[in-house]
């Protein structure tokens, strides 16, 4: 259990993200919650890549040693860019909403509620 600490951290980080999304009323903080959730998955992927005592899978001037798995790193890079793109779009929505309603509190802006 203790050796799996990084994976426990992944779970805790994901829960922090979900809690932020569910409990906060400020739109920008909710968006931060999504970002934290994305980070937790990034951390999860990087954690999966690790091999005991491994080095980065780059051969330039590398010591002859066992290397960690490269695929999760590629997936993580992809997900970081996707996360940046999603956050950018969400924040721009938030900017527009703030201009329309003058607030980012979701209790005050929900026009669409039945």
């Amino acid at each position: 259990m203790f050796l799996n600490l990084p994976l426990v951290v992944v779970v805790l980080l994901a829960l922090i993200g979900i809690a932020t999304i569910l409990l906060k009323r400020n739109l920008v903080k909710i968006i931060f919650g999504v970002t934290i959730l994305t980070s937790s998955v990034n951390l999860f992927l990087v954690t999966l890549a690790y091999r005991e005592g491994g080095i980065a899978p780059i051969y330039t001037l590398a010591p002859a040693d066992v290397m960690v798995l490269p695929t999760p790193h590629a997936l993580t890079l992809t997900n970081i860019v996707i996360g940046v793109a999603t956050t950018a779009l969400m924040l721009s929505f938030a900017v527009i909403i703030h201009r329309r309603y003058g607030t980012v509190n979701i209790d005050e802006i929900r026009e669409l509620r039945e």
């Binding site: 799996n4 809690a19 999860f44 695929t71 590629a74 793109a85 779009l89």
Partner: protein, 94 residues
């Protein structure tokens, strides 16, 4: 009420997600055949020292174009949102 429900959801989710540290052991991947192939053959097949780049642009290049497209999509979307506000733009016809 809604708050309690949220806390309940978080607790249930947390309980289920604790399966992850119980089922996967850190530092000792069970299978690694695909990645070992990349580490062993990536350099010779693609000519790149950086195996992550080899995976990113060669073996999984199609993902990377999708990834660039996500960024492109987001920028187009952001531009769409701010299209009425962007000034100094001679050819905005409205």
């Amino acid at each position: 009420m809604k708050r309690e429900l949220s806390v309940l959801i978080i607790l249930i989710l947390g309980a289920f997600m604790m399966l992850i540290p119980l089922g996967i052991s850190f530092g000792e991947p069970g299978h690694s055949a695909m990645d070992d192939y990349f580490i062993r053959h990536g350099q010779e097949q693609t000519g790149a020292n950086n195996i992550v780049t080899a995976v990113l642009f060669d073996y999984r290049g199609f993902d990377t174009i999708g990834e660039s497209t996500v960024l492109f999509t987001a920028v187009i979307g952001v531009g769409l949102m701010f299209r009425k506000l962007m000034r100094g733009d001679a050819d905005e016809n409205e």
